[in-house]
Symmetry: C2
């Protein structure tokens, strides 16, 4: 990840959350496919590829939100595969955002699905080919270990939800523990310990950019962890409040943005692609400058 | 759910976790499709439909593990749809086991995907049509509310992970809170409050059968909640230890079993279907008798 950030001079992760009722106009003009599902899926591919082409120069990675593709059923999964392939051909790292978590055999199946392969009686079936996945820690460290091992075997990484960007994060994540600290701090400790010992760990953390007061404490608990920072823009987070994230280097903080880039044309005018390119580049410059000060 | 349990005289939920390298032999004999993915997906359909036909008379529901289908990519999603349709035509309730959890817009997209429909510029796209889904509470009550509302709009239910059946459940779920009680007890309180007020709530709880010492406390905290009880059989849970689950009636405890039914033929001999039928029926009788004593 550090190499990719360095090479592309960017810490920006482009969120791909396509809403098939709100695609860029060009993407819905000439669409092949039989039935609404296939047509919508093809329009989603076109939309996401245009968005990637526009924003890629300013980005280091894409983060497809799996739910947005899954709602188009089998054609949606095919679209996800096509979009991931396009992002990879554009030189971007792919973070599959599904926030999965399950017991051992099921966690392993998710790894097969997203970063690995599946043995069948008819030969191997390739998974999505993502470079990293997001996972949910609720069920415990054993479930995280299966995910991390499955990812490692495929030279992929994992981002564990630690302290998320939604208002309800306070309900359980922020609960004070009898032994001291909060639940998210305990999860953060585990995440810090689960890394592979390299300068920047292969086990990252999802850390909401809407709670910047926590970022310094997170950095204490997870000194070598890459932070995936959602919540910039539409959810109210601000880049300039996240300096602590970049303490171990620029790749220590990856800033995800989606709606602010996709819908920049509605706010700033111009074509969707031009507006997205400018918005992504502005965000890249802002965070790159900040990283240098860390 | 209560009506279904009553009508079918069963509290057994058949877990569908197909491993495409370990399907029933008949399912892999004559398989159509081009490429390993389609062939494996078609074999999975055949396997699951045979399993449903064998065990359905003793069951009230099926619980497809989404990871197992997702690892076969787009053909896997098509297979999931076919298996769900077959289960419904056999009169079974369908519980989509994906343990999803995400912020508002993404949670809503998961609901569209699993229990609802998705509006697109090309018309509506149907979701999976499940009757219930499993969800992960880590991110907070706001994320659960979106899932519950999305399910309710489609006359579907939700099962929230409370205390799971894996060994690592102790890591975070069992943490003692400064305000008293454990994390899972706090989650259980929220689950109890999120129900719709009916005699048996539309918000259920996933409660591992491997920790029977907790079931009575769970029933205290969630008096009208349906418990989905995984962990019987392969994971070591025992039906006779779960009496407290059935306090509000037989539908208060749904017992999931998968490997013990699917692979009964390896242990007990006979054809896979006959062995599965007998094993499911034995489990049905055992839990039905127990429910009567509650």
């Amino acid at each position: 990840m550090a190499a990719a950030v360095d090479q592309r001079q960017s810490q920006i992760v482009l969120g791909l959350d396509p809403d098939p009722a709100q695609l860029w106009p060009q993407a819905t003009e000439k669409v092949a496919g039989s039935g609404a599902g296939e047509q919508a899926a093809n329009a989603v591919i076109d939309h996401c590829c245009r968005l990637i082409d526009a924003a890629a120069p300013a980005c280091v990675a894409v983060k497809p939100q799996l739910a947005c593709f899954e709602r188009l059923a089998a054609p949606g999964r095919a679209a996800l595969g096509a979009v991931v392939a396009h992002a990879k051909s554009a030189g971007l790292v792919v973070i599959a955002d599904g926030k999965r978590g399950d017991i051992d055999v099921s966690a392993a199946a998710y790894c097969q699905s997203l970063v690995g392969q599946t043995a069948t009686e008819f030969g191997e079936v390739d998974g999505l080919g993502a470079d990293a996945i997001t996972v949910n820690p609720y069920m415990g460290v054993d479930t995280l270990r299966v995910m991390i091992d499955g990812a490692r075997k495929n030279a992929a990484g994992v981002f564990v939800l630690v302290r998320t960007s939604n208002p309800g994060a306070a309900d359980f994540e922020d609960l004070e523990l009898a032994g001291g600290g909060t639940l998210w701090e305990r999860v953060a400790q585990s995440v810090g310990q689960l890394g592979d010992g390299s300068e920047l760990s292969d086990v990252g953390a999802v850390v909401g950019a809407t709670a910047p007061q926590h970022v310094a404490r997170m950095r204490e608990l997870m000194p070598r962890t890459v932070f995936l920072l959602p919540g910039i823009g539409a959810q109210g987070g601000k880049v300039e409040e996240l300096a602590a994230a970049f303490a171990p280097g620029r790749a220590g903080g990856l800033i995800t943005a989606s709606r602010s880039i996709v819908f920049a044309y509605e706010k700033n005018g111009g074509s969707p692609a031009d507006a997205a390119r400018k918005q992504a580049e502005a965000l890249r410059e802002e965070s790159w400058a900040l990283g240098a000060g860390g």
